[in-house]
Subunit: 191 residues, 2 copies
């Protein structure tokens, strides 16, 4: 019989991130994470496949949120659909997640394999958004271009959202980033 510890996933997640920030991702063992919240290594592995998984277990939800956002958006241009999905996804990133997200980003940026994993996650996200846009009848290359723009805007907005002193919500930052992007494209249209 497997014993289930209520709230263990969250406790492990918080403890792991604190240790990664304090002593580095490489230097932290699963045993330390588990012990720091009075749990065993065995328990850790019932919640997460490995040390990395603590940082990436929201990956599927994020992708699904974008796919659902595109699917449910009212009829619009490709970037109009993207704008709706971005706003909707940004709502998952509430104020109380900002500090967690900042620390997570800091840990990832300090470690090359984690940075690569994050890049691959974003590439997977772009592929999923492309598919979702195609299902809305958007043809290529518009679907791919709009999906890549979606992920670029999301990534840039995210980094800005967790920057020191930033007070706008992620939805606001994403909207402003998308505007910057439009300005950029319009400038090019000039001779």
């Amino acid at each position: 019989m497997v014993r289930w510890e209520p709230g263990a996933t969250d406790r492990l997640r918080v403890a792991a991130l604190e240790l990664y920030v304090e002593q580095g991702f490489e230097q932290t063992t699963v045993g330390e994470i588990a012990n720091s919240v009075g749990l065993t290594e065995r328990t850790f592995f019932r919640h997460f496949a490995d040390k990395k998984e603590v940082l990436f277990d929201g990956q599927d939800q994020l992708r699904q949120a974008f796919v659902d956002g595109i699917a449910a958006a009212p009829p619009s241009t490709p970037l109009g659909l993207v704008a709706t999905a971005l706003t909707q996804v940004a709502e998952y990133f509430t104020e109380d997640r900002r500090t967690w997200s900042r620390k997570r980003h800091q840990v990832i940026q300090a470690n090359q394999p984690l940075k690569e994993r994050e890049l691959l996650k974003l590439a997977g996200l772009a592929t999923a958004v492309t598919e979702a846009l195609r299902k809305r009848g958007i043809k290529d290359p518009a679907a791919t271009l709009a999906a890549e723009t979606c992920v670029t805007v999301f990534s840039i907005a995210f980094v800005q959202w967790i920057a020191d002193g930033e007070t706008r919500s992620l939805a606001e930052v994403a909207r402003d980033t998308l505007s910057e992007f439009r300005i950029l494209a319009l400038e090019t249209a000039e001779p």
Copy 2:
């Protein structure tokens, strides 16, 4: 004394790609590649660090070509600089490289670790282009947005360039893709 075989790099490159296409990347050994052109495994390793390197040894040149293209472009908007660099880089991809590029792409798409390596290469390219744009005085987020757009347009144009039946040059496809991209952004500006 190390003996230098003239043209060995190219012979090994062509032989390796043929074998990767015929029997798969995983299934091909360095020994087979070398032997198929009458060379030894030792010789192979004087030219390439490993089997993957055959497919990725143009990576630094590509990045440098983009960086040089941005640096040398006449004053323009961020995407104007990108457009100049794209056209310049596209010139490296002459007609006689189209078949090689198509086969290379086919091998990479069939193998997950190679796909990941290619994605990381493109991410590194975006970072280099961002830096080059900053050196031209472009601020963020415009520099990052324009750099990501550059890499997205290049990737999409490249895949189109090697598609069956495509006859336009890479420079033409890149220009058309950038236009599609502008249309996409303009559409969004509409209510």
